[in-house]
Amino acid sequence: MSANEDSNAYWSANVRLILISLVIWALVSFGFGIILRPLLSGISVGGTDLGFWFAQQGSILVFLALIFFYAWRMNQLDKEHGVDEE
């Protein structure tokens, strides 16, 4: 059944996109903001280090970009796979 195959392809493309996005999500917050902060301590930003910037500002900006990217890409996928709302 091609319809079924296509909806499987749509779903796995979606899951792949979600996974990539969540890796970035975790990297900027738990990674750069907390766990990897000591590694970034050499890069200074306004009187402190890059990890502090990620924890208090950078991660929020990346989150924003991620959500809009996901919404844009999913709307494309909806159309490609013919599952968008008419």
Partner: protein
């Protein structure tokens, strides 16, 4: 015009605006009451969700917690914004496609079990009521300040106002009111921050000012680090707590954000599935406007307070009692003293108030040499920082009035949204869905309003002994939502396998274990001295009670998986339902499930 009249004027005018809108958009049918007929544009919905979401915790409490701990409380910033990524990617579009009114309806249908729906209602009530406690604290402080009375009376007056306000409209009234509230609260938060950023760094954008330089060319954060360490406090930008606890705490707040019913409910109100995705993004845009400003507010306020207490630098004499009592720059201290949330005491009788960290061993010698007998700024409730901030920076009176109105807008909008979620859980899911299915629309609306009143009474009673500052109380609510609701929703969408027994067992396990951990550390029902452990020395290594939600969620997933494997497979029609939720096509107007 004196400050008291000015505050009343601003608060009164903003209230008149909200009530006017609520009356204009009064809900007629149950469908309008819960989901505003699904006619809300994503940007409008984003703005309303942002107001709904940003509560007393974000507005009144968060910057204060960051100000006094610095980097370690970055968890609030990352956690409360990062949750929207989870919401946008993992939940919002699918729940909109499913097309029902409430979160528990989805859980009940997906797990083909009235028991699952009932358990979801219980989880939702526990998390929401804990959340309302935090809001009530904020309302109490804001009313206490602008009426210049004790915070306890502020709490009682606030409870009456919240109730009167929440019963007026349903979601539709609330949606447009919340758009107005967003505008009020973001203006109120930004204007003083811009003034203060200009004063300290010359940069009109607080988020840039935070990483900018002071007049002398020294970076703001470096100067702040210097001053707080001089006074014996922990360095502002350095990490002090446990890394594991910080990761778990941030994760709890993130998962909790995506599991809170009153936020998820908002995504039922957009017209289309693709709008649900955009709507989450717009919500975060409006939230980020405040969240990018908050760390600047915290750092700059901390600097201003230290400067006020040590007007000639940390190596000169401290501020004198006489100056605090007579200098208009210090007038805010006397007004806040009336709320019982700020206090000072000249312990060594030298006529000056020394503000320093008396628990720091390195400062003992200096203290002895100077004849200091302990920190004399004896009480500084973190929750007053944002409201007091414009006064601390000697900003004009109208800014102070505006901030009072903004703080109340934040607390009220969230309290109203939560009460709506609570009332729909009781009247729609519990009564109509389970106990009395033949209930008329009219009695359903009546039941909704009665449950709102009951929820406020419970929240006020428990709020008399709050388990922490407003944002910390709210963090506990997030832990509960993280451990109970989010895993069930996520498994319901991303797995066709998890069955009714698995979901019920998972939710109960997550809720019970998290609630138990919280009560063990914060006291049973938050009653003082009934706790067996403290957050300074928690039961599980570094894991504080506010961070346990992430572990609770893990327990939920694990239990659901194991129980599913031991019980009967999910029927085919449910698997088909899950498949259909995953594709946007065919999402019509949502229908009532009965």
């Amino acid at each position: 015009m004196d400050q008291f009249t000015l505050n009343l004027l601003f608060v009164g005018a903003s209230f008149a605006l909200y009530i006017g809108i609520a009356i204009w958009a009064r809900a007629g049918s149950t469908s309008e009451f819960y989901a505003a007929g699904r006619g809300v544009h994503p940007v409008t919905n984003g703005m309303a969700t942002a107001a709904d979401w940003m509560s007393a915790a974000s507005f009144i409490s968060m910057a204060g917690l960051i100000a006094f701990t610095g980097y370690d409380n970055s968890s609030f910033l990352m956690g409360w914004t990062g949750g929207y990524v989870l919401l946008a990617l993992l939940l919002a579009p699918y729940l909109r496609k499913f097309g029902k009114f409430t979160v528990s309806e989805f859980i009940g249908d997906r797990f083909y079990s009235p028991t699952a729906r009932l358990v979801a209602v219980i989880c939702l009530l526990v998390a929401s009521i804990t959340y309302v406690i935090g809001q009530m604290q904020g309302v109490g402080i804001a009313f206490g300040r602008f009426l210049e009375i004790d915070a306890f009376w502020g709490l009682l007056i606030g409870a009456c106002v919240v109730f009167a306000y929440a019963v007026f409209g349903g979601m539709k009234g609330v949606t447009y009111t919340q758009v107005a509230q967003y505008c009020v609260l973001i203006t109120a938060y930004t204007i003083p921050a811009v003034f203060i950023s200009l004063q300290l760094t010359g940069n009109p954008i607080p988020a840039l000012g935070l990483f900018g330089s002071t007049e002398s060319g020294e970076p703001l954060l470096a100067k702040l680090n210097q001053i707080v360490t001089d006074l014996g406090f922990a360095e502002y930008t350095a990490a002090h707590g446990s890394t594991i606890n910080m990761v778990l705490f941030t994760l709890s707040l993130m998962i909790g954000t995506a599991g809170l019913p009153h936020v998820i409910m908002r995504f039922f109100t957009v017209p289309r599935v693709s709008d649900a995705r955009w709507s989450a993004g717009w919500t975060l845009v409006f939230i980020a406007l405040l969240y990018l400003t908050a760390p600047a507010v915290g750092a700059m306020a901390r600097l201003n307070i230290s400067d006020l207490m040590w007007p000639n630098g940390t190596n000169a004499e401290a501020v004198s009692v006489e100056q605090i009592e007579t200098d208009p720059e210090y007038a805010w201290m006397a007004t806040w003293q009336k709320t019982g949330l700020l206090g000072w005491e000249d312990k060594n009788g030298d006529g000056r108030i020394q503000y320093y960290n008396d628990a720091n061993a390195d400062l003992q010698a200096k203290a002895e040499a100077n004849g200091w007998k302990g920190n004399e700024l004896t009480n500084f409730n973190r929750d007053i920082l944002v409201l007091a901030n414009p006064e601390i920076a000697s900003l004009p009176g109208w800014v102070i009035g505006l901030v009072a109105a903004g703080g109340l807008a934040a607390a009220l909008s969230t309290a109203a949204g939560l009460l709506l979620a609570i009332s729909s859980a009781v009247s729609h899911d519990l009564l109509k869905g389970q106990l009395t299915p033949n209930m008329s629309e009219k009695s359903e609306l009546l039941a909704a309003r009665i449950s709102m009143a009951a929820a406020i009474v419970v929240a006020v009673l428990l709020g008399l002994n709050p388990p922490g500052f407003a944002a910390q109380t709210v963090a506990l609510a997030f832990g509960l939502a993280a451990a109970s609701i989010f895993p069930a929703l996520m498994m319901g969408i991303f797995s066709t396998r998890i069955n009714n027994s698995g979901a019920v067992a998972g939710m109960l396990a997550g809720l019970v274990v998290t609630l138990l951990y919280i009560f063990l550390h914060k006291g049973w029902f938050f009653i003082p001295d009934t706790n067996s452990f403290t957050d300074a020395d928690p039961l599980l290594g570094p894991v504080k009670s506010t961070s346990f939600g992430a572990i609770g969620a893990l327990v939920n997933f694990a239990v659901a998986y194991v129980v599913t494997n031991m019980t009967k497979e999910t029927p085919q029609h449910i698997k088909d339902l899950v498949e259909s939720v995953r594709v946007p096509r065919g999402a019509g107007q949502a229908v009532d499930g009965h």
